[in-house]
Symmetry: C2
Subunit: 165 residues, 2 copies
DNA sequence: CGTGAAACATTAGCGGC
DNA sequence: GCCGCTAATGTTTCACG
């Protein structure tokens, strides 16, 4: 089911769901002028095919005491792991990626083109917490060479909805 | 309702909902050993207070033909707007922020500390589309001085769920 | 906080285009 | 193939103990 046709009606359903993921099937059916059963069949098909990756609630970071958002650029050592082992090497990239999965304050991490190797989105309570994270986790990690941080001063725009229409 | 107490039970509800925003109230109530009505009352309270900002479906960008993700650092002109007007000025920042809202390919934008003024997350079909966006929109904008782009090579981690437990 | 009943939503089966 | 109807099942919601 990796490949599937997505027609204009599917796109309208997706546009609605990525703005409000809890609308009832009936409500969605009404908005696209379809009866509930074919509408539901389409939604299930989009879910099972993986076009819809899932449904989530979005929370307010401020109100949960996570008021500090940072983007951190990380550069790693090149080549094999920290113990230069024979072959079938664990690379620095492998080690770093595994570590990232265990750090809860890192909510996103991408391998990037350009000067730096990785871009991390880090969501924490305050500067004290962030400082501890950088000192004790990031800079402490054997694969990390260099770290450059920018802090978010203001959120101009932020949406999980993709421009599909 | 800006300030409200969030106890351990609320946090467990939030942790569940930010992983699966379509679970039925009954299912959530079971998982936290509560009966459906107080559970629903808590959820409604969290929604109305704004701790839960909303519910969304997350879509697969690849399967929707939006396979290219870029982070773009933007630097703006300093001071008042492009027509150096008397006072009560429209600043370059104001102009740029308004433009950002109208660009669908920009799914996120933050004002940042550091060398560059803004960080944009841009989601597009391919390099051709991205190139058009930079040339025709970004560089064409009168407030923009400088633009530096990095492209995502690999998604190591990405979650909308905040580390609240 | 929990119970229960009414209102509402989801889902599978079937006939028609 | 895809749509829309109906009927059974399951879920949400609210008044009340």
């Amino acid at each position: 089911m990796a490949n599937m046709e997505i027609d204009a009606i599917d796109r309208r359903i997706l546009a609605i769901l990525q703005e409000n993921g809890r609308l009832s099937n009936q409500e969605i059916a009404e908005r696209i002028n379809l009866s509930p059963s074919p509408c539901l069949r389409r939604i299930r098909r989009l879910e099972e095919s993986g076009v819809i990756r899932g449904y989530v609630a979005l929370l307010d970071a401020q109100r949960l005491g996570l008021g500090l958002l940072a983007y951190v650029n990380v550069r790693l050592e090149k080549g094999g792991g920290p113990t230069p082992s024979p072959r079938g090497d664990v690379t620095h990239a492998d080690l770093f990626r595994a570590a990232v999965q265990t750090w809860p304050e890192v909510v996103a991490c991408y391998a990037m083109t350009g000067e730096m190797d990785y871009l991390l989105r880090v969501q924490v309570e305050d500067m004290a917490h962030f400082s501890r994270f950088v000192q004790d986790q990031l800079l402490h990690h054997p694969s990390v060479i260099d770290v450059r941080t920018s802090f978010s001063l203001d959120k101009i725009k932020e949406t999980t909805a993709l421009p599909i229409l």
